[in-house]
C-alpha cells in the first residue's frame, strides 16, 4: 500500500494563527486555530480576542497542539508548508520563520503556499472527489477573485475587486449599523427578517473586464441611506438595509461567477473564503447552478475562514511534484496567483 503523505500546514497571514496536519491533501488529522483554542495550560486562561494577532506568542503552542491532536510526532511529517502571501508582512514572517526552523532542524522539505490557493484547496478537503478544472469564487475580508482553476497548480485570475473586497463591504456596513465585527454573520442574521427589495442598491459591472468587482459605491450608497434616515430623525430600518445590501452583493458575486463558468464552459463551480459561509450566497448560487446544470461545491464554514488545513492541502500538490521552496523563503505581502516562481 502506498504510504500516506503527511503535511504540516502553518497559516499566519492575517488575524488567525493556525496549524494543521493533513494527509494526501484531502484528509484533516488536526486543524487548530488560535482564536478558538483555550490555551489554559500555556497561558493560565483563555486567549483574549484582542490577542488574536499575537502570532509570535501563539505559533509554537498551536503547532504543538496540531501535532498532538493528529496523534503523530513531528518526525512523521513529510514536509512543512506555510503561507507566504498575500497578507501582512509581520504576521506572515512569524509563520515562515517557524516553518523554516522546523524544516531545517528535521531536514524536511519546505513548501510555500499562496493563501488564495489555500482557500481554493479547502474544497479538496470537503469534497475528496473534486478535481480541476473548475471556476472558483474566492471571497473573503481581504480578497474577491474569480479564478479559473485549470489544474491543481495552474490558475488564471478572471476577475478581482477594484476597490473593497466583498467581506470588507460586509464588515464596513456592519460597522456603520453598529452590528459589530465580523460583519458577515451579523448582517446575515439581520437580513433574515428584512426585505431584500426594500432598497435598490447599485450593482457595478465593468465592460472591459466583465468579471471584476467593485463594492465601494455600494458601501457609500448604503451609508447614504443610513444618513438620510438619521437626518430625518427616523429609525434606521436595519433589517431591510441588511437584506437589500446582502442581496446586491450576492447578485454580483453569483452573476459574475456564473457568467465566467458559462463563458469558460465549466460545469463545476466552487466557492471559497469567509464570504462562502454566507447562506444567502450559497442558496442563490445553488439555485443558479441547478438551473444551468452546473455542480456546486463549497466547504463547511470551519474551512471557509482562514485555517492551516487548507494550506497543507494546497501544499500537497506541490509536494507530489517536488516543488520545494528554498530556505531563504521570504514573505510576499502582495503575492498574486500564479506568481509562485518555485
Amino acid at each position: 500500500m502506498k504510504k500516506d503523505i503527511i503535511l504540516l500546514g502553518i497559516e499566519s497571514s492575517c488575524d488567525e494563527t493556525s496549524a494543521a496536519v493533513v494527509t494526501n491533501g484531502r484528509r484533516v488529522l488536526s486543524n487548530i486555530i488560535a482564536t478558538q483554542v483555550k490555551l489554559h495550560a500555556e497561558y493560565g486562561g483563555v486567549v483574549p480576542e484582542i490577542a488574536s494577532r499575537k502570532h509570535v506568542e501563539l505559533i509554537i503552542p498551536v503547532i504543538d497542539k496540531a501535532i498532538k491532536e493528529a496523534g503523530i510526532t513531528l518526525n512523521d511529517v513529510d514536509a512543512i508548508s506555510v503561507t507566504y502571501g498575500p497578507g501582512l508582512v509581520g504576521t506572515l514572517l512569524v509563520g515562515i520563520s517557524a516553518a523554516k526552523a522546523i524544516a531545517f532542524s528535521l531536514d524536511k522539505p519546505l513548501i510555500a503556499v499562496n493563501h488564495i490557493e489555500g482557500h481554493i484547496a479547502a474544497n479538496y478537503i470537503s469534497s475528496p472527489e473534486l478535481e480541476p478544472p473548475f471556476i472558483c469564487l474566492v471571497a473573503s475580508g481581504g480578497h474577491s477573485h474569480i479564478v479559473h482553476v485549470k489544474g491543481y497548480r495552474d490558475f488564471a485570475v478572471l476577475g478581482r475587486t477594484r476597490d473593497d473586497a466583498a467581506g470588507e463591504a460586509f464588515d464596513k456596513i456592519a460597522r456603520v449599523l453598529g452590528l459589530g465585527y465580523p460583519g458577515g454573520p451579523a448582517i446575515e442574521k439581520e437580513a433574515v427578517s428584512g426585505n431584500p427589495e426594500a432598497f435598490s442598491f447599485p450593482r457595478v459591472k465593468f465592460s472591459d473586464v466583465p468579471y471584476d468587482f467593485s463594492f465601494s459605491g455600494l458601501k457609500t450608497a448604503v451609508i447614504n441611506t443610513v444618513h438620510q434616515f438619521e437626518q430625518k430623525r427616523m429609525p434606521v430600518p436595519v433589517a431591510d438595509i441588511c437584506a437589500s445590501f446582502q442581496n446586491a452583493v450576492v447578485d454580483v458575486l453569483v452573476g459574475n461567477t456564473l457568467s465566467a463558468a458559462l463563458e469558460y464552459k465549466s460545469n463545476v463551480i466552487c466557492i471559497a473564503g469567509g464570504v462562502a459561509a454566507n447562506s444567502a450566497l450559497r442558496k442563490r448560487m445553488s439555485e443558479k447552478c441547478l438551473k444551468n446544470g452546473i455542480s456546486l461545491y463549497y466547504p463547511p464554514v470551519s474551512l471557509c475562514t482562514d485555517n492551516a488545513a487548507m494550506v497543507a492541502s494546497a501544499a500537497y500538490f506541490y509536494y507530489i511534484d517536488e516543488k520545494w521552496s528554498a530556505n531563504d523563503l521570504n514573505a510576499v505581502p502582495g503575492l498574486k496567483l500564479n506568481e509562485n516562481g518555485i
Binding site: 492575517c14 484582542i50 494577532r53 498575500p86 497578507g87 501582512l88 508582512v89 509581520g90 504576521t91 475580508g141 481581504g142 478581482r160 475587486t161 477594484r162 476597490d163 473593497d164 473586497a165 467581506g167 470588507e168 464588515d171 464596513k172 460597522r175 456603520v176 465601494s216 458601501k219 457609500t220 451609508i223 447614504n224 444618513h227 438620510q228 437626518q231 505581502p333 502582495g334
Partner: protein, 144 residues
C-alpha cells in the same frame, strides 16, 4: 490650509491626482474621514498622479498595500484595524515612514502621536445637502 469642494468621485480623484504632483519622496500624508467619504478614492487619484498603473484597492484587511512601478513608490495604509502601537511596530510601520517613499495613511487620526510634525493632513467630510459632495481640507501643502 486649503478647502476644496468635490462634487463627485471624479472630483476627488482629480484632486488626488493634482496633490500627487506636489508630493515628493519621503512625504507622509494622513487622511481623516468617516467611512465612505472617499479616502481610498482620493488615493486612487494620487496613484494615478504618480503614474501607478495597478488598481488601488482598499488596504483595510491587509493594513498596507505597496505600489512600486510609479514615479515614486507609494505605501497605502489603513490603520483602522490596528489595535495598538505595538502592532504597528510589528509590521514595521516606522521603517515604511522613513524609507524615502510616499506613505498615505487612512484613519491616521487614530495614530496621531506616531506621525511626524511635517505630516500633510487631509480631511474628507460629507455635507448634509448632497450625498455625493465632499469638503476636502488640506493642511501642510501648497495649494494644488
Amino acid at each position: 490650509m486649503q478647502k476644496y469642494v468635490a462634487h463627485n468621485e471624479n472630483d476627488t480623484i482629480e484632486l488626488g491626482q493634482k496633490t500627487a504632483g506636489l508630493l515628493k519622496a519621503g512625504d507622509i500624508v494622513a487622511l481623516e474621514g468617516e467611512l465612505g467619504t472617499g479616502k481610498t478614492v482620493f488615493v486612487k487619484g494620487v496613484a494615478k498622479g504618480l503614474n501607478i498603473r495597478e488598481h488601488v484597492t482598499s488596504p483595510t484587511f491587509n493594513i498596507v498595500h505597496s505600489y512600486e512601478g510609479g514615479s515614486i513608490t507609494l505605501h497605502h495604509f489603513d490603520v483602522y484595524r490596528v489595535s495598538d502601537e505595538d502592532e504597528l511596530f510589528e509590521i514595521g510601520f516606522e521603517e515604511y515612514l522613513y524609507k524615502g517613499d510616499i506613505c498615505i495613511i487612512e484613519w491616521a487620526d487614530l495614530i496621531k502621536n506616531m506621525l511626524p510634525e511635517n505630516t500633510i493632513w487631509i480631511k474628507l467630510e460629507r455635507t448634509d445637502e448632497n450625498p455625493d459632495r465632499r469638503i476636502i481640507t488640506i493642511r501642510g501643502l501648497e495649494p494644488v
